[in-house]
Structure formats: C-alpha cells, structure tokens
C-alpha cells in the first residue's frame, strides 16, 4: 500500500469562473481502484455529461464532488454545498411541496420563495399539495426546484431522468436546459443515455475503468455523427 497523497477539499471563491476543479482524484474500495488519477474542470454555465457503463466509477465521482464520499487521494476544488438531483426525487412524503423545496432553509426561503421556485418548474399554485399526488415527472421537477433554489455554482445530476417515461424525459430535458441557461451553474450529469448526453451537454466525457477515456464537443460534430462514435466508445456496435 502506498501512502495517500495529500487530500484536500477547498472552497471555490464566488468570483471564480470555475464551478469545480479536480486533480489526481483517486478512490479505492479495498484493493479495487474505482477512480484513478482523474482530472476534471467544469466552468460555470457549462453543461458536462458523463457517460459510462455501470460500475465505471461515474457515480462514485459524482458522490465525491457532492462530498458524500471521501476520496483516497487528490484535490477537489468545489463549492461548499453543490446541489444534487438524484435518480429518485427523494421528497419527504409528510411535507407539503413548498416545505420540500425549502427543506432545511424554511425560514430564509419562506413559502413565497418556494412558490416562485415551484412556478419556475411549471408547478405554480401547488405549494400546499402533497408529494403523493405527483406523477414521477412532477416529483422530479420538485427535486429540481429544491436543487436550484440555492442558486448553486455546481449542479450534480445523478441519472435524474432514468426512471421517467420517454415523453416525460424529453420534456424534462427542455426544462433543465432552460433552467441551466437561467441560473448558469456548472452542471455534471451522470447518465447511461447517449441521446440524453447529446441533447443536453456542451461537453461529453466517456468514463472507463476509473478514468476519463474520451472527451467530445458536440458542436464540433455534424448532427447524428457523434452518436455512433459515443456508442462505440461504450462498447455498443451500430451498423
């Protein structure tokens, strides 16, 4: 076992144009290296998609950025409190929607602030409704409102649309694009879905065996040309 390198998590100043900056990140589970010497920069307002097969370490990376997981080595310069949207909406079933949106900050945000955030995601006037009355897509909208209400410098999305039906997913893509354009956070979305990455991202990273194996800028490629390339990177052959 080698000695761990100096590990630190620094706060990014409000003036910095960088939402997150990662250098030499490493994470091991026992002897298995899940993330290996990984570097990553995301600017504010930039939408980055992280593609990869299950078990490639992409969720571990997201959890490290969210400070939910402690890396073994490397530095992460990230905001003290990035916002996260998980695959499940994770709403409190016993709290009305406005309290879910303002959760933990009810006094500073207040009912009106939460109502504005709900209106932003197309749920105006639903502040006193219960989570059980929401569809899957609506619940995920509330989760999005809860994440964006703090105007985060970094927004982390962990396969947030994977459990939604195809049509709802397309609508959510449009909504997320609008909201990101409005709030200008740096965004990292972890996904299995190549088309989702192509629709949303300014930059697409492919992760393999704990490293970033390839990076693409969709704007450099003709529409539809990048899709088979990405699929090939993920080990799916198309003819």
């Amino acid at each position: 076992m080698t000695q761990s390198q100096v590990l630190s998590r620094e706060r990014v100043g409000a003036s910095s144009s960088m939402a997150v900056s990662v250098r030499g990140l490493q994470r091991r589970y026992g002897s298995r290296v899940v993330i290996d010497a990984l570097d990553l920069d995301i600017r504010k307002g930039e939408f980055v998609a992280l593609l990869g097969e299950s078990g490639c370490g992409k969720t571990t990376l997201l959890r490290a950025l969210a400070a939910l997981d402690r890396p073994d080595a490397g530095t992460i310069r990230a905001p003290a409190r990035p916002s996260v949207v998980f695959q499940e909406p994770r709403l409190l079933p016993w709290a009305p929607l406005w309290q879910n949106v303002a959760l933990g900050h009810e006094n500073t945000i207040g009912r009106d602030g939460a109502a504005r955030a709900l209106a932003e995601v197309g749920l105006a006037g639903r502040e006193d409704d219960w989570p059980r009355n929401l569809s899957g897509g609506q619940a995920q909208r509330v989760a999005l409102a809860r994440a964006l209400i703090h105007d985060p410098a970094l927004l982390l999305l962990d396969e947030p649309f994977a459990a939604l039906d195809a049509l709802t997913r397309i609508r959510m893509h449009g909504l997320v694009k609008e909201l990101v354009a409005l709030h200008q956070p740096g965004v990292l979305i972890v996904t299995h879905d190549v088309d989702e990455a192509l629709t949303l991202a300014d930059r697409i990273l492919v992760m393999r065996a704990g490293r970033i194996a390839a990076a693409f800028q969709p704007k450099d490629h003709a529409p539809l040309a990048l899709r088979p390339i990405l699929l090939a990177e993920l080990g799916v052959r198309t003819h």
């Binding site: 939910l68 409190r81 996260v84 409190l92 933990g104 059980r132």
Partner: protein, 279 residues
C-alpha cells in the same frame, strides 16, 4: 314513462347511481340492525323470563343501574380513579418507552447497551409479573400504575425504535447534501418519518394498558371500575358487573377514536390514512 325508456342514457343516469348509493346505505343499516336486533331479543328474552336476571340482566335494567350510579355521582368517582390510573401508567411507561426507542433507534451504541436486556424483559408476559409486583409494591396505587406502565412501555419502545430504523437512508443522505443541522433532521425527517410506527405503538399500548388496568383493579381496591365489579361480584349484583364490562368497552372505543384523531392530524400526508381510507 316514455321519457325514461326512450333513450338508453336517461335510463342509465336516472337509475344506476341511485341503485349504487342505496346498496351502500342498505349495508350500513344492516350492520347496525344486527346488534340492535340482538339487544332487542335479549331484552325480550329477559322480560318473559327466558334468561335469569342473575345470569344476564336485561339491557334496560343495566341502563337503570347506570343511571342510578350516575345520579349519585358514584359511577364518575370510580371512572375518574380508573382513568387517572390508566393515564399515569400510560404517561410514565410511554415516556420511558419513547425515550429508549429514540435513543436505541438512533445509536448502535445505545442498541448494544440496552436492546438485548429490554428484549429479554419483554419476553415475560407482563401479567406473569403480578405476584412479584405485589411483593414489591403491595396492592396500592403504585402497583397498579406500575403494571399499566410496564404494559405500555414495550409496544411504544419497539415501534418507536423500528420507526426510526425504517427511515429511508436516502433521505438522510439528502439532509447531508442540503446541509440540514441535527435538530432540523430530527424535526423534519426522523420524527415525522417514524410517526406512523409510533402511533401504531400507541394503539397497541392502549390495548395493553386496558388489560393491565382490568387485572390491576381486581387487586384489593376501594375505588375504580374494577372495584365496582369486584364489589358487585361479592353481592352477586350482575347488573353492575355487566355495567363495568360495558364501561371498559366504551373506554376502549374512545381511546381508539383518540388515536384515530391523532392519525388524522399527523398522518394526513399518508395515502393509507387520508380521509376515508381507513375504516
């Protein structure tokens, strides 16, 4: 007449819903009619002498007894004493059970410290403790309240602990991401999340408390519903015995209604407890 049969729609709209509602009403009537008929037949059988009054007095004569005992205030004194005993035991046992449940639910260390011992004591049917309780506390008020508290403690403890354990760890993770402090986590996530389970515990505890009270009040007492029953037994006063049985039943129903009120207040978010969902 011609209107009704001329179109299919008017037939459907004028008859189908009414038929549906009347069936619901009918079943509701039926569910009350059966006990009413039983009581009526009992009354009739007593009046014509089919049932001896020492075995089972007529409902009307039990009612008269209740009115008499109520008029001279005796009934309410005994009822009050019984309720105070139950309330004292419930508060003491419930508080200890809730506190232990919260601590053990939260902390694996506290679990290691307390849980096995509590589970061992829980395995004893609390009524088996009766002789020991008499040796410890005699047959006074303390023994009775202790017995009720003992009966209440375990259901509250178990359900509080399980309720806290069952809280989705993903919600706890969310609390970390959002940066909630400990007090907010307890207030916003842990207590409301454990509430359905805690209230289930309260329901069980109330049932156990009554059982304990009935037994405890058969010990030497001079006041309480149990005393009323024991005293009446001495004089073969079946009217009063039957009255005490009915009073215990009414108290049980009222207690259950109180828990339902709490559920309606605290669990309105829960589909299972939403209006009308629970019978």
């Amino acid at each position: 007449m011609a209107d009704l049969t001329s179109t299919r729609n008017s037939y459907v709209t004028s008859h189908a819903p009414r038929a549906g509602i009347s069936r619901v009403v009918l079943y509701r009537w039926l569910s009350w009619a059966i006990p009413a008929i039983v009581v009526q037949s009992w009354e009739a059988a007593s009046r014509i002498g089919l049932i001896a009054p020492q075995v089972l007095p007529a409902p009307s004569s039990v009612f008269d007894t209740a009115v008499n005992l109520g008029r001279n205030g005796e009934l309410f004194v005994h009822l009050g004493v019984s309720l105070v005993r139950a309330a004292a035991g419930f508060v003491i046992g419930g508080t200890i059970g809730l506190a232990l449940g919260v601590v053990v639910g939260f902390s694996p260390f506290a679990q290691a410290l307390f849980d096995r011992s509590i589970q061992m004591v829980r395995a004893i049917p609390f009524l088996a403790m009766l002789p020991l309780v008499i040796v410890w506390f005699g047959v006074g008020e303390v023994a009775k309240i202790f017995l009720v508290a003992l009966a209440v403690l375990f259901p509250i403890y178990i359900n509080t602990m399980l309720g806290i354990r069952q809280i989705d760890p993903k919600l706890m993770e969310l609390a970390r991401v959002i940066g909630m402090d400990r007090i907010a986590v307890v207030r916003r996530i842990i207590l409301p999340g454990a509430m359905p389970s805690i209230l289930t515990g309260v329901r069980y505890a109330l049932a156990h408390a009554w059982l304990a009270l009935v037994i405890a009040e058969t010990l030497a007492t001079t006041k309480g519903i149990g005393f009323l029953a024991m005293d009446a037994r001495e004089f073969l006063n079946t009217n009063v015995i039957l009255l005490t049985v009915i009073i215990y039943a009414i108290i049980g129903v009222v207690a259950d209604a109180l828990v339902r009120l709490l559920e309606a207040r605290y669990l309105s978010w829960h589909a299972n407890y939403a209006k009308g969902a629970r019978k």
